[in-house]
């Protein structure tokens, strides 16, 4: 019998500000919609373990999309004429446009790194449209990554982006999965990682806004101890500024919990998902 995963991949057309974006997404399971957001410069493959996990997809319709310009989601027309810089406005509004187009009922949104940072914008601006938020490896300000070296004609972008992020993973994580994550990074389009980091390190400076989050939406911050871009201390400090938000420190894991060590991540994630189911 063939070994086939339960994931189904599809394309959806998402209208946003006069453009129609052809967006790839993959999903598995049924129940509460759970949108998973990939990290900068990569794609939905980062969430493959959670998509396939019966303990997760039994209660959740797990959906992972490729943002425009990432993975199988082609860039909007005219992309070749502009420098790509992801903004908080586009990112947060586009994720919600995708959710609306799929007619999801108040989804849970879980994102890692930039996908975690955008959860703060979603909490502030879309509190009525989301059920819960799980910002993984996220905080209100994560400077230092918007670098020209990541998109430079003298430098191999794929290898440089992938190697620059490799050390964000814990040495205890299985090498096979760490190298797989390196591979995802090496496959990003030219300038896409850097363009995403414009959001991550520049446009997402949420320090003056974090206190305005209502606390209406449950938020569960989760941070690996080997994350040197957003340390557990940085995430915990952010969480303390939000009414009712929780912070969980994850041992022996780094910036890419879902794909660098899905077993360890699951140990921390399942109690969070159980709380969301109970609510």
């Amino acid at each position: 019998m063939a070994k086939i995963e339960p994931i189904t991949g599809r394309y959806i057309y998402v209208p946003y500000e006069g453009q129609e974006y052809r967006v790839f997404y993959e999903e598995a399971g049924q129940g509460i919609p759970l949108i998973c957001l990939h990290t900068a410069g990569t794609d939905s493959r980062e969430w493959r373990h959670q998509l396939c996990d019966p303990d997760i997809n039994r209660n959740f319709r797990v959906i992972a999309l490729d943002l425009p310009r990432h993975g199988k989601s082609i860039p909007p027309t005219g992309w070749w004429k502009d420098e790509y810089k992801l903004t908080a406005k586009f990112y947060s509004e586009f994720v919600m446009a995708f959710a609306r187009e799929l007619e999801l009922d108040r989804p849970v949104i879980m994102g890692s790194s930039m996908g975690g940072n955008v959860c703060l914008h979603l909490a502030l601006n879309f509190a009525d449209e989301v059920r819960a938020l799980i910002p993984v490896e996220a905080c209100d300000y994560s400077p230092g990554w918007w670098l020209d070296w990541l998109h430079h004609p003298h430098i191999h972008g794929g290898e440089a982006c992938a190697t620059a992020t490799y050390g964000l993973m814990a040495p205890q994580s299985p090498e096979e999965y760490r190298r797989e994550t390196w591979w995802y990074y090496a496959q990003g389009g030219p300038g896409i990682f850097k363009g995403d980091l414009y959001f991550y390190s520049v446009d997402h400076d949420f320090r003056s806004l974090v206190g305005k989050i209502s606390g209406k939406v449950p938020m569960y911050f989760m941070t690996g101890v080997y994350d040197f871009a957003c340390t557990p201390e940085m995430a915990e400090t952010t969480a303390k500024k939000i009414k009712g938000a929780e912070h969980i420190t994850m041992e022996e894991i780094g910036h890419f919990p879902m794909c660098e060590n899905p077993v360890v991540f699951k140990k921390y994630l399942m109690p969070v998902l159980a709380k969301i189911v109970r609510k």
Binding site: G144, A160, G167, P171
Partner: protein, 129 residues
């Protein structure tokens, strides 16, 4: 703590020069790099991914393109089999949030050769005292 003396560097050189992966990913890695382990500076001449030469005496005629400078205590944490958080990687050490290692000189060269360079650095963990 690792001694970072001449003998230690020679053992690191052995590790680098017998490494099969570096022969592939370092095929174009040629650079003179100053490594400062606290009070122990060395200039390592990488040629096509091998450590061709190590200069132990740094003087007015020593040239290098890139310098990686950190206290010996920082390097000692980096070379542990399981380094502690924030000490496990060149980018971690040098990230402006942490500033545990200074990168000076031609930083473009570092980014051009980041894969081979970090692989060579990781081989420090194979050095037996």
């Amino acid at each position: 703590m690792a001694a970072f003396d001449v003998r230690w560097v020679e053992r690191w050189q052995e590790q680098v020069n017998k490494d099969a992966v570096l022969k592939t990913i370092g095929r174009h890695f040629t650079a003179n790099i100053l490594f400062e382990f606290g009070s122990h500076p060395y200039v390592v001449s990488f040629v096509d991914g091998s450590m061709a030469k190590v200069a132990h005496s740094i003087g007015p005629e020593t040239t290098f393109t890139l310098a990686l400078r950190a206290p010996a205590e920082t390097w000692a944490k980096f070379v542990q089999p399981i380094p502690p958080p924030m000490y496990n990687d060149l980018i971690a050490l040098s990230h402006p949030l942490h500033g545990k290692l200074r990168v000076e000189g031609d930083t473009k060269l570092m980014w051009q050769n980041l894969r081979a360079l970090t692989w060579a650095l990781d081989l420090m963990r194979n050095v037996k005292e």
